[in-house]
Structures are given as structure tokens and as C-alpha cells.
Amino acid sequence: MEREERYLELYLDRCSAQDDLAPPGLPPLSPVAPYDVYVCNSSNPEAVFNSHLEEVKEITGGFSAVDLSFLPDELTQENKDQTVVRSKGEDEENCKTQSPPSKLPLPSQQDAGLGLTSSSSSDSHSHLQPGDANSGQHTPEKPDSLPLASIAPMTPMTPVSEGSEIVPQLQNIVSTANLACKLDLKKIALHAKNAEYNPKRFAAVIMRIREPRTTALIFSSGKMVCTGAKSEEQSRLAARKYARVVQKLGFPARFLDFKIQNMVGSCDVRFPIRLEGLVLTHQQFSSYEPELFPGLIYRMVKPRIVLLIFVSGKVVLTGAKDRSEIYEAFENIYPILKGFKKA
């Protein structure tokens, strides 16, 4: 108990010194190790405070001077004598004292002041064990008796553990490239296999290759659009093949500025979705006009992707420049869709 109080005072002194942003006049005790760390990082009190919490919780048996009001009464009772001790310490630190059983205000104010989120302090809370120096031993058990359910995260984030096991498949990739030379479309159309050219309808040659199965629009300026590939590599390979075809026909074609313009992916969540509910709650992002189009059009802001969501559970994602955007968009929408599952 004595040791506890000693550690506590040391810790609180340190906190107060930190407040003043002046180097503490405390002898460096090895248990509270990062003293030198503290000195160097005095300009970054927040990080130090965090590391303090970690150290303190490991070494002093988890007693850190932070807000325990969330704990149920039996636990706070155990801390009561300690809170009494603490309140003395608080006076030094110039904080508002409140009734001991309820709160320890200063550290929580420090929390606020240093911008800690309550989730990080709650993490340290979860390891609190009143009156026991051997935190290591007790840390595994204690969390069972602590009401972890009452620790609520501040930001309404979807829990990471519930990731969907579904991976969207890429269906179509549109890319452009520059062959960097003027082309005679008529000559290309005459000599190349699988090429269409109808100048009255459209001012480009439409060429197709079988492997990878793609279609290209080749313009007289030398620019080219390649569609139909199912992966980035295939799109690049196909574009190169078209460039080679043009080269073989005698033009000085090069392969410049290959860029993927659009990627389309699709997947199936395998449950029916109640779109009326989704369009009502996510009004600012969704449009649903079943007379015009059977799918709900969802414009996600981050990442900037358009999703077409159908009643059957099929989802089409488009507008991506990179594969990761499609995956991210799907992971974002999946929990929302689960909420509107039609049983």
C-alpha cells in the first residue's frame, strides 16, 4: 500500500510537472522508466502521457490517475481509499475536486486537455486492478469481471472483426494509351484482322483481340481506348498487343501514358436487401427510382465510388481508378446492407 501511494505521488507529480512543461525535479526511478524519454519529448506531452499510462498500468499494478466513474460501485469502492489519497494529490495540481467516490477530475481533464480519446484511456482502464502490484498476473483475469460492455467507443465505427468474407470480382477495366503517332485508319481497317471502321458513323477503328478478350477504339490522333479486360495487368497487356498490331502495319507506334480510367467490380452479398429502408436512411447518398432502374444508386463519398445495389443482393461497384477503392467501398457498404437484410 505504501508503495502504491509512493508511486502514485510520483506519478501525479510528474503529471503536474508535465502540465507546466518544465523538467521534473524527480529522481529517475527505474520502475517508471521512460523518464529520459519524457525529458526529450517534453514538447510532445500527449505522446508521453500515453506512454505514461502504459508504463503506469504495467508497473504500479494498474493504478493510474484517471476517471473511474464508469466502473460499477463495487470496484470504485475498492479505490475509494485511493481516491482519498488522490484527492490530496489533486489539490497540488490545481484542479476542481469533486466528491471522492464519484470521479477523479484532473486526470480526465488532462485527458481532455491533451486530446486523448476515451477509447485509449478506456484501454488502460481495462487493466486497472485496485490494490495489486502484480499487474502481469492479474491482467488476464480482471477484464472478465470488469464491465467491458460499458466501455463504449467514441466514434461510431463498424467493428473491424466483422469484415465480410466476400471479395468483389473485377468485371471490366477501361484504360487509355497513347501510340504517339498519327494513324491512317483506313489502312489499318483494310489490313488488320478483326477491325471495323465506318467513318460515317464514328471516327475510330474498332479492333478486337481474343486473348485477353478486349475491344479497342483507335483514333487517328494515335490515342486508344481499351475496354473489356478483367484485371489491370490484362488491360495493359491487351493495350500493348494493340500497339504491336499497329506497329506491324508500319506505323511508328509507341506505348505511352497507359492509364486506367475506370474499374468495375461486382459481388453478391447473398441475402435480399430492403432498398426502401436504405434509400430513406441514406437519402443524401442514394437514389432509387424503380420505375427507371431496378437498382439503388449509392454515391459513396469516401472512396468516391458509385454502387448499384439490387434487391437480390447483387452489388456492382464502378468509378474506381484502383482496385483498393473497390474493396474499401465494399467493406464500407457491407455492414450497412446487413442492417437492411430482408429476412
Binding site: R274, E291, L292, I297
Partner: protein, 317 residues
């Protein structure tokens, strides 16, 4: 009792010269549409026939007025501009129409990007189709706008209350359905006049007219027909709610119609008619709704709408 209510409409129908044996009838599609808009699971056939009648009459009248406008500007076809001109008085409905047109543009843009064949088709067609409707609407409203309030509608982002109420009603309806019923509901929602464009064209029967509507004008007419049906359902539901007498509640009129429906749907019985389906909208509801809509109330009512001179209050505009 209902004859006087029906008389302005029945005279209109007789004047439209419609034969009793019409070849094309949308009655069955209308029954599905009524279900998707908030009616019961099996809407009455009589209601569908009556609604078809009303919509047909109103559309024919609208077409005639649009043809007049078209003639005024010396055009050979009825184009979307004429219809937009007729709707200029009612901002909310005009805004809804504009939003519909923009959504059509947006949807074709997206769907084009997904399917590579569509992309090629679009390129081959040569014209720049993106935002075609939006451009037309913007140019036209620009030309007729005197006070700037029409153009302000493009930036306006207010919530459309009517649409909101419809969305909420649909959401409430679907919440209690199981997945089979919900699949049926979704299919009904996808029905529209624009899906059956050729049948719609025949049904409208513009052959007797000198000036005919072009493709985009037909799109808008199909939309207006659907809007008319939706308006009729909204009003009929209100009328039905009013008909249920609730003892002791002085503010029953002030509470929103959909709210009451939700809470007392179990108790609401048909106030008129002895039909077995107590939930379905009855023809008397529709007639009463039209009567109230066309009823001139207030000192300035003769001057409020120019279209009433035809004896008809248009539901869609």
C-alpha cells in the same frame, strides 16, 4: 350522391370520344402500380379502371394544350419544352420532373460505363448524349425565366415533401413483408408507363392529332401519367383516412395521413361500399379526391390556375 362529383369527369370522358371497347387497357398494370404506391395487396379492378380513365382523360387534355403551345411557336412536333412550359406554374411538380430527367441522364451515364457494349454503342451513335435532358431543360427555362425563380430551382436542394412521404410509406409497407411478398412488391414498383412505351403510345392514341409528341416528350408524358397515378393514391389515402370517424380526438385532422394509417390500419373499415377488401382503395375514394382537388375554394381561386378553364384540374401539373 357521387354522381355530381363524377359529372365533370364523365362529361370530359364522353367528350374525348373514347369507344367503349378499348383495345389497349392498362388496368392490370395499374393494379400492380396501385399496390406499389401504397394501396393494399390486391387493389380493386374497379379502382384501376377508374384511375385509368382519369389518367387517360387528363393526358389527352394535356396533349391538346401542349399542341396549342407548340403551334404558338410554330414547331412541327410537341417537344419537352412545351410540356415544361405548361408546368411552369407549379414549382414543386416542375422540380420533381427536372429531378426525374436528371436522374435518367445520370443513370444512363453510369450504366454505360459498366457494360462495354453500351459504351461502344454510345460512342457509335455519335452524339454526345450525356446530360442531354438536363441541357434541354436548362436552356428552355433560361429562355422563359423572367424573374429568376425557375433557374433558382436548379440549385435548390429542398426536400420534396411529397416524395419523402411516399418513401416513408413504402418503407413502412415493406418492413412487415416477408421476402416473397417483398419480391412481388419490387416487381410492381418497377412497372411504369415508360417500360411499355409502344402500348402507352397506342393507349394515348395521338393519331387524330396534327402535332405529335417526339420521343423525349413521350418519356415525359409517361412520367406525368405515373405521377398522376401516384397523386391519386396519395389523395385517396388521405380521403380514406378522413372517412374513418375517430371519436374524441379533436386534432385528428392535423395528424399526417400516413401516420394515422399506420396506427389504425387494423381498424379502418370501408366507410363506403360493402366490399370485402377493407384495405383497398375504393372508387368512391378516388372520386372524392378528384372532387376535392378540383374544388375552387377561396376568393382568388378563379385566377389560380389557367388550366381550369378546360374544366379539369390537372393532377400532374
Amino acid at each position: 350522391m357521387n354522381n355530381t362529383a363524377a359529372s365533370p369527369m364523365s362529361t370530359a370522358t364522353s367528350s374525348s370520344g373514347r369507344s367503349t371497347g378499348k383495345s389497349t387497357s392498362f388496368a392490370s398494370e395499374l393494379q400492380s402500380m396501385l399496390f406499389s404506391l401504397g394501396d393494399s395487396r390486391r387493389p380493386l379492378h374497379e379502382t384501376a379502371v377508374l384511375v385509368e380513365d382519369v389518367v387517360h382523360t387528363q393526358l389527352i387534355n394535356l396533349l391538346h394544350q401542349a399542341a396549342e403551345v407548340s403551334q404558338l411557336r410554330g414547331a412541327r412536333v410537341i417537344s419537352p419544352e412545351d410540356l415544361l412550359f405548361l408546368m411552369r406554374k407549379d414549382k414543386k411538380k416542375l422540380r420533381r420532373l427536372l429531378k426525374y430527367m436528371f436522374f435518367r441522364d445520370y443513370k444512363s451515364k453510369i450504366v454505360k460505363g459498366i457494360d462495354e457494349d453500351d459504351l461502344l454503342e454510345d460512342k457509335l451513335s455519335g452524339s454526345n448524349n450525356a446530360n442531354k435532358r438536363q441541357k434541354i431543360a436548362q436552356d428552355f427555362l433560361n429562355s422563359i425565366d423572367q424573374t429568376g425563380e425557375l433557374l433558382a430551382m436548379f440549385e435548390d436542394d429542398e426536400i420534396d415533401e411529397v416524395k419523402q412521404e411516399r418513401m416513408e410509406r413504402a418503407e413502412r409497407q415493406t418492413r412487415i413483408m416477408d421476402s416473397a411478398q417483398y419480391a412481388e412488391f419490387c416487381e410492381s414498383r418497377q412497372l411504369s408507363f415508360s417500360k411499355k412505351a409502344s402500348k402507352f403510345r397506342d393507349w394515348l392514341d395521338c393519331s387524330s392529332m396534327e402535332i405529335k409528341p417526339d420521343v423525349m416528350a413521350m418519356e415525359i408524358l409517361a412520367y406525368l401519367a405515373y405521377e398522376t397515378v401516384a397523386q391519386l393514391v396519395d389523395l385517396a389515402l388521405l380521403v380514406r383516412q378522413d372517412m374513418v370517424t375517430k371519436a374524441g380526438d379533436p386534432f385528428s385532422h392535423a395528424i399526417s395521413a400516413t401516420f394515422i394509417q399506420y396506427h389504425s390500419s387494423a381498424e379502418s373499415t370501408a366507410a363506403c361500399g360493402v366490399e370485402a377488401h377493407s384495405d383497398a382503395i375504393q372508387p368512391c375514394h378516388i372520386r372524392e379526391a378528384i372532387r376535392r382537388y378540383g374544388h375552387k375554394i377561396g376568393p382568388l381561386s378563379p385566377f389560380t390556375s389557367a388550366y381550369r378553364r378546360a374544366g379539369m384540374a390537372f393532377l400532374a401539373c
